[in-house]
């Protein structure tokens, strides 16, 4: 059984006078252990899809099954529990609580699971170690660099041992070098068996994922190995874009 089954998902926003379709017919599965990029321009519907995948929003039509269970049958409290137990969120703007220390931020989802203080602390420290920040645990988010903040956010997403790591433009607010490190971290997490969905508008990020799904105007128009999807994407944009993409990929390959 696939971890995620998207069965003809439709999402329409009702703006009173007009109905705006955000997702028109999304239909694909994601198995456990996959690392999938969802690529698309802004306005393509990828954020809407991400909200549905994260159980923050519900589809207008179609069925979303997570671990075989139709999510639309769950109550608000059950959805909160699903988010807590099954999904680890990583946001573009980190979304750390500014007044809590890095470690306290990582502990937060465990509070909602009712895990005792001592156990909570141990697990949070393990997660901080996993992202290489064991020496920054007492720091407030404002005292950390962008890359470090995103690592704290990733630790917070991982601390609950979720079935699914859901990252929305995780490198969007980082410089290219730090972004590269974060992608490296995701690849490593994937190699350890984690299921990861990465939402991005950058084809060159998608190119590094084993699988990419390209969304245009609320429809899946490409689904395959990351590099193929990225190249097809660049081709669609024209010869210049393709050349740019290949040059960037070459530079990246040469860097280490």
């Amino acid at each position: 059984m696939a971890l995620i089954e998207l069965d003809h998902i439709v999402k329409t926003y009702d703006l009173g006078l007009s109905k705006v379709p955000a997702l028109r017919d999304i239909h694909f599965n994601i198995a456990r252990g996959e690392f999938v990029a969802i690529v698309g321009q802004s306005g393509s519907g990828k954020s809407t899809l991400m909200n549905i995948l994260g159980c923050l929003d519900t589809p207008s039509a179609g069925q979303y099954r997570l671990s075989g269970r139709d999510v639309s049958t769950l109550s608000d409290d059950e959805l909160a529990d699903v988010r807590n137990l099954e999904i680890g969120f990583v946001f573009q703007s980190f979304q750390l609580l500014p007044r809590a220390s890095a470690l306290e931020n990582v502990e937060l989802p465990l509070i909602y699971r009712g895990i005792g203080k001592k156990d909570r602390r141990e697990r949070a420290i393990d997660a901080m170690r996993l992202v290489g920040l064991e020496d920054r645990m007492k720091h407030k988010p404002a005292e950390l660099s962008g890359g470090q903040r995103q690592r704290v956010a990733i630790a917070r997403a991982l601390v609950t041992q979720p079935s699914l790591l859901l990252a929305d433009e995780p490198t969007g607010n980082l410089d290219s070098k730090t972004g590269e490190e974060i992608v490296g971290l995701f690849l490593e997490l994937h190699s350890r068996g984690n299921t990861i969905i990465l939402v991005t508008h950058e084809p060159k990020l998608a190119a590094r994922c084993p699988r990419a799904v390209r969304i245009v105007d609320g429809l899946v128009i490409a689904d395959g190995p990351g590099r193929d999807v990225a190249i097809a994407n660049a081709e669609a944009l024209g010869a210049e874009a393709l050349a740019q993409f290949l040059a960037a990929e070459k530079a990246q390959g040469a860097r280490p």
Partner: protein, 435 residues
């Protein structure tokens, strides 16, 4: 990157709907509550000025209410003490009707004063009373040698006084009928007068001067009685009624205390009324031009006054609660607005609606209770000041402290509910998107 072997991060396939035990749920709520308290404290500390203003508002309000009820309690306990010294079986024959409303003032104003003739009539023609004592008093300066004491209560009465009022002699003797008949220049002094003039001297037989020209020799000393309404009752001297009248004049009129036997108060009242009517030569169709008062009448009017204070206190309390509540609501709405994104993040990480509700209610209750505690401390300080600087006794009942804390917590919940609910009902995606 840590190369250490870490445990597998993700769990194998499992049922999506987790089964959380009853104990697990309790533990979760305890965890969340602890977090909510910490968050509320952090929120208050990081917005000190904003919190301080609201807290001061609540504190001043709570203080005002406590002080009003404290003053009221002080007055009524003082009054009750005063009454208990007089005894419930005592009737008071007086020109004025006690407890009458202000409208009747004109009716009583032109009545004749109770005179010594009325007193003699009562003394000679009644059979039931256990004791009869006239009372008339004034404030005067009392001096001994070169020393003065101002504001001493100088009272004229006769031999029945001790039985009528429950005062007790410590040394010497009280007035006799003969003292009254002769208008003897003798007096009995209160404990405060003894302290003021006679350190190390035996007062008995010494002569003091009361007012401009009443010289009298001390024949007795009262046992100490203590304070009533914060005023010492021992700063007094007692002289024969006739001596008092001679010195201070007879215009002011008497109050005659008549002690009825137990269970015969009504009969005694009838007898006293009849004797007085006779002495005043009133025809059967004429209205009485005197009043036979009982203490409960006084108590009634006092209770009426207390009721007014009570209503004031309750009104001030309601207004205070409203003002403080609006303050709490305001600070909370700002806090919810400011932390909308945080609410979204918490919801994404697995906080339930109830978790968010609890978090903001905690903040409201904390603001309110801190304000309440401040108010109670302010009121305690003020009570101490009143107690030391003014004659009125003022203490804070521990029940008031508990009531103040519980009351402010309730206030926090009531006025925090709407902002907290609005936070809890936010859609997670909308909260996350909020700029």
């Amino acid at each position: 990157m840590s190369e250490a072997a870490l445990p597998a991060l993700q769990r194998p396939e499992h049922d999506l709907r987790p089964r959380i035990s009853w104990f697990g749920k309790v533990r979760r709520v305890v965890n969340e509550l602890r977090d909510a308290v910490v968050q509320a404290a952090v929120s208050l500390v990081s917005h000190k000025l904003r919190a301080a203003l609201t807290i001061m508002g609540i504190a001043i309000g709570i203080m005002a209410v406590i002080i009003i009820f404290m003053v009221e309690a002080g007055m009524s306990s003082g009054f009750a003490k005063q009454l208990s010294t007089l005894g419930p079986n005592t009737l008071f024959v007086h020109k004025w009707k006690w407890g009458a409303s202000g409208n009747d003032w004109w009716k009583y104003k032109d009545r004749p004063q109770i005179s010594t003739l009325d007193l003699h009539a009562l003394q000679q023609n009644t059979t039931l009373p256990l004791a009869i004592a006239p009372m008339i008093s004034t404030n005067a300066t009392v001096s001994y040698g070169s020393r003065d004491v101002k504001g001493v209560e100088v009272r004229g009465t006769v031999d029945g006084y001790l039985d009528a009022t429950g005062w007790v002699m410590r040394r010497g003797r009280f007035l006799t009928a003969l003292d009254e008949e002769l208008g003897a220049n003798v007096c009995i002094i209160g404990a405060d007068i003894e302290d003021a003039f006679f350190k190390g001297i035996d007062p008995l037989g010494e002569t003091i001067r009361a007012g401009p020209n009443l010289r009298c020799s001390i024949i007795g000393i009262f046992a100490r009685k203590g304070n009533s309404f914060g005023q010492s009752q021992d700063l007094r001297i007692i002289v024969p009624l006739s001596a008092f009248m001679r010195t201070f004049g007879s215009k002011r009129g008497l109050v005659v205390a008549v002690v009825a036997p137990e269970g015969k108060v009504r009969e005694t009242e009838d007898e006293v009324t009849a004797v007085m009517r006779n002495a005043r030569h009133l025809a059967p169709d004429q209205e009485e031009n005197f009043s036979v008062n009982r203490q409960d009448k006084l108590l009634e009017s006092f209770n009426g006054m207390m009721m007014a204070t009570n209503v004031t206190g309750i009104l001030v309390g309601i207004i205070t609660a409203l003002v403080a509540g609006i303050g709490i609501m305001n600070i909370l709405l700002v806090s919810v607005k400011e932390r909308t994104r945080e609410i979204g993040v918490r919801r994404a990480l697995g906080a339930r609606r109830s978790t968010i509700l609890m978090q903001f209610l905690c903040e409201a209750v904390m603001v309110a209770v801190v304000g309440g505690l401040f108010g109670i401390s302010l009121a305690s300080g003020l009570a101490w000041l009143i107690d030391t600087l003014s004659p009125m006794p003022a203490t804070i009942d521990p029940r008031v402290v508990i009531g103040g804390v519980v009351g402010s917590a309730v206030l926090g919940v009531v006025f925090g509910l709407w902002p907290a609910l609005s936070a809890a009902l936010l859609q997670p995606i909308e909260a996350l998107r909020y700029e």
